[in-house]
């Protein structure tokens, strides 16, 4: 991978997509486990538990957190333990270069 752009830091971008009923819990969890912020959007989707669209079926929520590697691992571990068995949920991590990286770590 090429060098990160000037003045940027490598951090992890953790994305969680889960059923909307979990929204408050997930936000509480990621903050407790060290995320300094998050971005949230409303999405719909389909996975192993079928379609999730609309208010009655229950839509999904998408949370993105810029975090350090340790925090990312901690959040993934906790989410796996708490939600992945019974709830519709997906989580993945990637590398990004962020401006003012010290804010997120």
């Amino acid at each position: 991978m090429a060098d990160p752009p000037l003045h940027t830091t490598r951090v992890k971008l953790l994305t969680v997509i889960a059923e909307a009923v979990l929204e408050d819990r997930l936000i509480r969890d990621v903050k407790r486990l060290g995320a300094r912020g998050f971005t949230r959007s409303a999405v719909t989707g389909e996975g192993s538990r079928g379609r999730r669209v609309g208010d009655v079926e229950g839509a999904n929520v998408r949370l993105e957190c810029l975090v350090s590697e340790e925090v990312a691992e901690r959040i993934l571990a906790e989410l796996s333990a708490s939600y992945f068995e019974h709830y519709a949920a997906v989580a993945f991590v990637e590398d990004v270069s962020v401006v003012r990286g010290e804010k997120y770590i």
């Binding site: 009923v21 609309g54 208010d55 009655v56 079926e57 019974h86």
Partner: protein
Amino acid sequence: MELLQTNLLTPVVLAFVLGAIAARVGSDLRLPDPIYATLSIYLVFAIGLKGGASLSQSSLSEVALPGVAALLLGCATPVWCYALLRRTADLSREDAAALAAHYGSISIVTFMAGIAYLDSIQVEYEGFVPAFAAMLEVPGIAVALFLARRGSGKSSREGLIETLTGRSIVLLTGGLVIGLLSGPEGVEKVSAFFIDPFQGVLALFLLEMGRVASSRLGDLRQSGAVLMAFAIIGPAFHGLLGVALGWLTGLSEGGSFALGILSASASYIAAPAAVRLSLPEANPSVYLTPVLAVTFPFNLTLGIPLFHTFARWFHG
């Protein structure tokens, strides 16, 4: 038969049918989510306001007895549903409790369709009946969650708090209190928005519910005959019970009918949210499919004239 036709050929019921057909033929017709959410805020708040204004005109003695009956019904319904489903339908403890929560709680939209029916055949009812909706909604869910958790050591506190602070309860009780405090003259000032267009808004909402219900039809095959039977016999029995209790506690024909349809209705907003949080092991298609694809359309189309027939028997 005539009651059936009167009920079926109203814009409210026909809009539901149109929504279902549109979904069947693969139409892109659907209400955007924010609109769906807002219409349900509107409907619940409006029914609360109307009930509250009427409550402010009623004496405690009229209200108390049927109110206690509604409360008892709310507590008892999930118990027998749970027991019956555990025994006959071969469901896990969580699935049985989840269904009990849905049938113990209520659907305010089903109730509204019943009220719209009464209005259209010009049968009077006690205006304070919507207040009973608040009394039926919470206990049904609470008792069912308790049944599932009994002995498991886990708590269902979060699900319960979610129910109590959920928008349906807050808006219904909030609307009741506002209607009570501002009285008929106060509610009059907002009636051009909250009262007059009510049936039309309900029709638009049911257009969307038709789509939702029909999209569940595909899952019906997996549900098994016992569950399907329960999804019709259960509400029919709860409706009969509600009508009977209304009659016993002094409600009019219209009021008994209203308590009947309320009791027959099964929740598809408050209960699913609470169950999802507190009983994640329960399988959503076990509880949502019967409620949305069978009970809701049954009550809307056949249940309403059926419970009116019951009410006529008792009051006849």
